[in-house]
Symmetry: C2
Subunit: 496 residues, 2 copies
């Protein structure tokens, strides 16, 4: 089919506009041609290691120029990148690497402890540090996949569902393409555009900026991590026009900014990562900071709903309307469409929506029905079709932009011999937006100090997932079907 093939994105971009800047990182800048040549070298080095088209390769890297090069090297080989969250514990990483049948893991030089544990627990997996990879002799002729198929899998990112283990979300080249073009049709795209990325590249929010860069031919400014002063500096110095942020980042920027606001060339903040608090949006209006609220997830390859320029004030608090290529529906429990102003499950469809989960036909079938992805999120649309997201998910906790799924923490705590039952919820936190806390029902007569539970979690969960408080209780509120009533846990907090 004509419709399905295209030249490898970076290869095409380096051909079209070789001399445009692709990435600024620290004091370096690479043009698209340079980025392509570096990626080509690394592709040769990877091939020398035996990496081949359609392999799954784990990537555990920080935001860095080298990371960009490695991602594009993997694309040049037609490899499926399993992009791993740096904040996971070794055992969480092992689980995802095993589940994805990854044949190689590329990781930071500094992750020596992690490397050791992974090598012990998953002896079949080859691991290599970034420096060792770059020191390899390269294959003279890298077997480059000049043509890609839009349905080829480009990346896999794991998300934790509400129950059980995390699932690998399949993101095709087409998903990334449609996400990038859908966004451009909404936000517009001009030659002077430059996108600041300080969100992690291992999240779709950061990775999608990389894909926009090659598809648009647009420079990005890459930061290792969010730093409010560096952000404000680079917006001026590097002529940044767009920046993706989550609420906590935007709050810092608003607080740090003097009344003068940002330079005129700055076009907008693209705000994701959960419903934005109204006071923040109002503060942005006051400081004349253009903010586009958006809604999206790993399964939609970043934003799928965004507030259009002309409505950014009159629909403050709304996430907007679905991007041109995508569709949105609010579904009631009986699967009929909700009328305006009535809350229901947010259901989406479009060419940017994942085809499913890696090796999880059942989960795929459950979440995607007739092309419609059931997000599990709750929201409503107004009479004009603007989406208002109510609960990111009734049980989801968003802490500093990271998704935390209570079920995952509950599952860990339940594995403690002295824990009989457990319920986790998120509570508001001035710094992180939300933090997880846990309600524990102890086994009879067990002496179970809070500190022990903390340590138990710390060895099994990323730090941000460890509950900040443990409350002991006689019984958890559950309905007749024994489903935990998390809403009632919130009431219990208020009573405390």
């Amino acid at each position: 089919m004509n419709n399905e093939t295209m030249t490898n994105f970076l290869m095409k971009r380096a051909f079209l506009t070789p001399d445009r800047t692709a990435v600024y990182f620290q004091d370096k800048a690479l043009t698209f041609k340079e980025l392509y040549n570096y990626s080509l070298n690394v592709a040769g080095q990877l091939q020398g290691l035996g990496v081949r088209k359609d392999d799954f390769v784990g990537v555990l890297l920080k935001n860095h120029l080298d990371t960009v090069i490695i991602f594009f090297a993997l694309q040049l080989l037609g490899v499926r990148s399993v992009i791993l969250n740096n904040r996971l514990t070794p055992s969480e990483l092992v689980w995802q690497l095993e589940d994805s049948t990854s044949s190689l893991l590329i990781l930071e030089d500094s992750f020596t402890d992690i490397k050791m544990v992974i090598n012990q627990q998953l002896a079949s997996l080859a691991t290599i540090t970034k420096s060792d990879l770059f020191a390899k002799k390269e294959n003279e002729y890298a077997d480059i996949q000049e043509e890609i198929n839009l349905s080829d899998i480009c990346t896999i990112m794991y998300t934790s569902g509400t129950t059980g283990h995390p699932k690998g979300v399949l993101q095709t080249y087409g998903n990334h393409w449609w996400s990038a073009t859908g966004s451009a049709l909404n936000l517009g795209f001009v030659e002077s555009d430059c996108w600041l990325c300080s969100l992690p590249l291992f999240h779709i929010s950061g990775f999608s900026i990389l894909m926009r860069s090659v598809i648009y031919g647009m420079p990005i400014v890459l930061h290792e991590k969010f730093d409010v002063q560096k952000t404000i500096e680079d917006i001026s110095d590097k002529k940044v026009t767009i920046m993706s942020v989550v609420g906590t980042m935007l709050t810092s920027i608003v607080d740090a900014l003097t009344v003068s606001g940002l330079p005129e060339h700055f076009r907008c903040f693209l705000l994701g990562g959960g419903p934005a608090p109204l006071p923040l949006l109002e503060a942005c209006v006051k400081k004349n900071l253009p903010v586009f609220q958006s809604y999206g997830m790993t399964e939609t390859s970043s934003q799928i709903v965004t507030l259009s320029p002309e409505y950014s004030l009159s629909k403050l608090g709304s996430a907007g309307k679905p991007l041109f290529p995508s569709q949105l529906r609010i579904e009631l429990d009986d699967h009929t469409a909700a009328s305006p102003q009535h809350a229901g499950e947010i259901v989406v469809k479009g060419p940017n929506v994942t085809a499913g989960y890696l090796n999880r036909p059942d989960a795929t079938k459950e979440k995607i029905r007739e092309g419609w992805l059931h997000t599990g999120d709750i929201g409503y649309v107004d009479e004009e079709g603007f989406l208002y997201v109510l609960d990111r998910r009734s049980d989801l906790i968003i802490s500093g932009g990271e998704n935390i799924y209570p079920a995952e923490i509950e599952s860990v705590l339940l594995s403690h011999p002295d824990v009989a039952d457990v319920g986790v919820i998120g509570v508001d936190d001035a710094k992180w937006g939300q933090v997880p806390i846990a309600f524990i029902v102890k086994r009879e007569s067990a002496a179970l100090p809070q500190k022990e539970l903390q340590q138990f979690c710390q060895t099994r969960l990323a730090k941000y997932k460890v509950p900040k408080q443990f409350y002991f209780t006689e019984q958890l509120p559950r309905n007749a079907a024994k489903k935990l009533l998390r809403r009632n846990l919130h009431e219990m907090i208020n009573e405390k």
Copy 2:
């Protein structure tokens, strides 16, 4: 498949940005919401006539606001529009209507003679004038196709091959979509954009502007036909930023413009319709008129190769590089790829390229092989991959074994101050096989002896390229898109 469905383009656009202006025509303007509502009405009227999804409906209309409404009404019903050239003879129209199995023809009120002939020759075909259609009672509930499939056929436009009958080029919604987004990624797209369309809507050059309008959410200024003064006026008054032109139109604009050039908001002319003469491009540079040369055809749903902003000066005369989603190759007679600077057939591929010709499996197979469309055009690429279009293969003159490209000779003659227009063809010659001859339109009142033109050419062209005869004429035969009809020049020779 998720990837293949989308909301009907106009319906989605009217939902996203209802209050943006869609079309300016004469003293009227319609927003997208108004355009949608009018189109919905007409869809109901068409349905009342028995028109149903997947029907073929002929459209023989002039550039007009009503035409825009009718086109979108047909899309709302999922009808395949057979878009007919107004300049065809009744018997040519009958042929295309019969070939496409059209069940209805919608035509201008003023085309009474044509209507009569068509009714006589094709009694099975229902015909209706625009006014009669608009006077019909509408179906209360039009059966609107809210969702389209990208592989659904949206339009059919006939192209004449060099031999035999014209063929109906299938243009899917996907073809139009990819053409529009590929163009946006190259030219950029900003909210203030406004595209002037004075090319006929029955050509892909005009129709594609209509599709960009709904896909981008961008107003267009529609003119009945090209009028240089109205063009210059509307560029100022309606804040036009982009205009599609062919060479002769651009020449008129350049001639009519005072030294001051165009207002600053004007971004560019998109120049298509055949190789542009260098003197014209140079005149544009002198008058500071940004021109993007492009190359495309009905089969590629408009431009497929365009010169990127940064190369508009350094690669003057090139059509540029293939748009991001598309690919280009120069093929030698033995089907191998030509090396840079070597002329061969221009071969293209991409999601904007037609899947084939209506009911012509053989022609489809001949022209499209493994996804690559064999254009029949001759060109070469330079070392950096920039395309230079030499000529239509069918127009190629072979003289004593040398290839002569008429466009090259025309470009030289056009640089003569007393030449207003020129057309070159090859005629049979006993000695050389073929020799070039030229038809010249003099500038008013210029005395221009044949001998002077000969000498002018001799100093600028190899001897075998110098036309053996110069014929003076009042006007050259051009089609509605102002493209030179070399076939008619041959007829003029025979009449002489």
